[in-house]
């Protein structure tokens, strides 16, 4: 049992931290969010140069041989800066699936574009009716000769407006909510029959409704096979949970720091409002929520490589913690900032909104409490 970071991980943290401080202060961030595209290709290129996009991949794949703990370190620091560039969908979700389950040919064809920063990927798995059940799939993949034809709509696909490629879950066989019969397909956004309706999301990101209309893909677009698709997908989502738990630590830490600082300087009734015991204890509760979240984030990221049952339980437990803590910290940070916390001008509200989305992302507290109990 060991709770310390390696020297490399500490260096990695320092590097990302400096990069975010120097290049991604709140004003820069808001400029990027409000820009036409909503992300910065320049920042993305710098991620590639810094090796962040290569961090979790093995050396054979051209990567830096990192693991979940390295991703955790990176995501935590990206969270502090409320970074919108699509590290999670490209590297953690799609990159993770490719590195763990794609064939050598698929990896050769696709990983270099991720590591080099040329391609952005999005994971198109949720559907209008599926809520938080990744196995509730209506999008169909009909065998057609050596290949497949895809039809269906994917809902709220994060980063899709920026993406060049998708990994798409589609049903090859079985009923709407059968665990078996789901395949994961690599689909070019430029493929004929793919269309997107793009929009911003409440947390400053971008997403799309993605429609597939008779989209023909070749047989080697399928990752794994039709019996393992859902397992691969669920594993990827659990890795995603590990990553956004870490991201949320960055948000909570920023909010807690900002709130303590604000309460020390904001005066009412002739004294700093931080001298009121009720607000002090509120901040203590925020601090404790953060500390408990740190613990659960370490826990889940250490357990992502364990067996499926343990991984599921760890991921759901951590997601419940982060959902509750993030909600509490976000709401109370706004409350303690008073009217100022309600304005677009301060970063507080933006952290709050990202934490609100994180509670829903990959399933909310209710969903994961049930999954935890059944694991």
């Amino acid at each position: 049992m060991d709770f310390s970071f390696t020297e490399e991980q500490t260096l990695l943290r320092n590097m990302v931290q400096s990069f975010v401080q120097d290049n991604y202060d709140f004003d820069s961030r808001m400029k990027i969010v409000r820009s036409e595209e909503g992300m910065s290709r320049e920042i993305w290129g710098q991620f590639a140069e810094l090796g962040l996009l290569a961090a979790p991949f093995s050396e054979e794949m051209g990567g830096l041989d990192g693991g979940p703990i390295d991703i955790m370190v990176i995501m935590e620091e990206l969270g502090r800066g409320l970074v919108v560039e699509p590290y999670l969908p490209t590297v953690v979700l799609c990159g993770g699936i490719l590195s763990r389950h794609a064939s050598a040919a698929q990896q050769e064809a696709n990983l270099p574009g991720i590591l080099g920063g040329e391609h952005i990927w999005a994971l198109a798995y949720s559907e209008p009716q599926s809520r938080f059940n990744a196995g509730d799939v209506l999008t169909s993949a009909k065998a057609d000769g050596e290949g497949f034809v895809l039809n269906g709509t994917k809902a709220v696909v994060a980063a899709a407006p920026w993406a060049d490629k998708f990994i798409v879950s589609a049903r090859i066989s079985g009923e709407q909510r059968d665990r078996n019969g789901i395949g994961l397909f690599i689909v070019d956004k430029s493929a004929s029959g793919v269309s997107t309706q793009d929009y911003p999301t409440v947390d400053g990101n971008r997403a799309s409704e993605v429609t597939f209309e008779n989209v023909a893909v070749s047989g080697d677009a399928l990752i794994g096979d039709a019996t393992t698709g859902l397992s691969i997908l669920e594993e990827a989502l659990d890795h995603g949970i590990g990553a956004i738990c870490a991201e949320s630590l960055g948000h909570m830490k920023s909010l807690n720091d900002a709130t303590v600082e604000y309460c020390k300087t904001r005066k009412q009734f002739g004294v700093p409002i931080g001298s009121f015991q009720v607000l002090q204890h509120r901040m203590v509760d925020m601090f404790m929520e953060y500390e408990q979240s740190v613990s659960m984030t370490y826990m889940v990221n250490m357990k992502l490589s364990e067996g499926e049952e343990e991984r599921r339980k760890a991921a759901s437990g951590a997601k419940v913690q982060i959902g509750k803590s993030g909600r509490f910290v976000g709401q109370e940070a706004v409350q303690l900032h008073g009217g100022m916390g309600m304005t677009e001008e301060l970063s507080v509200g933006h952290y709050f909104k990202r934490l609100t989305v994180i509670d829903t992302q990959f399933g909310n507290v209710d969903h994961h409490l049930k999954r935890f109990a059944s694991a």
Binding site: S126, P128, R131, V156, Q335
Partner: protein
Amino acid sequence: MDVEFTSEDQAFRAEARKFIEDNYPKHLIGADRGDLSKEDFLAWHKILAEKGWVAPSWPEEFGGTGWTVTQKYIWNEESAAFGTIPPLPFGIAMLGPVIYTFGNQAQKDWVLPGIKSGETWWCQGYSEPGAGSDLAGLKTRAVRDGDDYIVNGHKIWTTLAQHADWMFCLVRTGAEGKPQAGISFLLIDMKTPGITVRPIITIDGGHEVNEVFLEDVRVPAEHLVGEENKGWTIAKFLLGNERSGIAGVARSKKAIDRLREIARGELEDGAPLLESSDFARRISELEIDLTALEYTELRTLASESKGQGPGPESSILKIKGTEIQQRITELTMEAVGNYASPWVPQLDRGDNYRAIGPDHAEGVSQTYFNTRKTSIYGGSNEIQRNIIAKMVLGL
């Protein structure tokens, strides 16, 4: 003790309902508050004014309806059930009672009719950057100069000031004694030179509040309400009134109905979310807390109708009412799942606007974010607890 309505009350309910159904502007049914123009805000107000029903809480001599407490309760219920846009609170609920209680005859004569007709849109100049919870810490100064006051200062969180014709305003006229001692209550024409209104965009993307800068604004002294340096009494009187309307029971009932409707339409593994025992439990808890609040409000109204004014106990209505509103909007956002994420604030909607996801998901996140303000404004919920601790428990 009896919870039944008399047949007179039931007849009144029927009349009220019919009047709303027959007269409420069709294009405003189900309208979203953030989308309203100035005319939209005032349309229903003006119809009510014509009917003589715009100010039920005022004494009859100033244009009130003379309704019983029960009738007012019924009117609120029917209005909320239909989902009307309530008359602007700044004139009817806030300034009106101040004027007929503290104003002189001339002020009564020109202010009250304008409030009722909707001709004059009022805004409230209370908070300042350095004076939020600690309202008495306000710094905006009014210096007497002949028949005028010269006002300099900076107000903030001024709701809908972008539409306002006039502002009622707390200003500092004296520097001696306790901070509360030197405050006066002034009426200011928003068209006076020296006034600048700057929008504040909130985290829901809406433009509801503003900053108001006052630079050498000349205000005739006849627009002082009550005595100079005695404005704090008026300020507290107004805050007390503000608190009692804030429970919002009837509107929360309607919001729970809507939540239930949404949860019936949203599916979880193919079954309505409403059938999930966890979700149903949380709706039940909301309904029970709201029922308790409803009866607490009724008990308060009953003792008011016996001549006891709204006491410090009414802080409960503010605290519980806003907590419930926040929980409803939060649960509604949760109900729509992934479709809580799309972000199309009112300000950004062009003509070619197309909704993302199911219609019922539209704006639920914005409403949730916006509703976070309710535990901050009108005296934060922490301040309300301080009031109860001091005034009720004697701590």
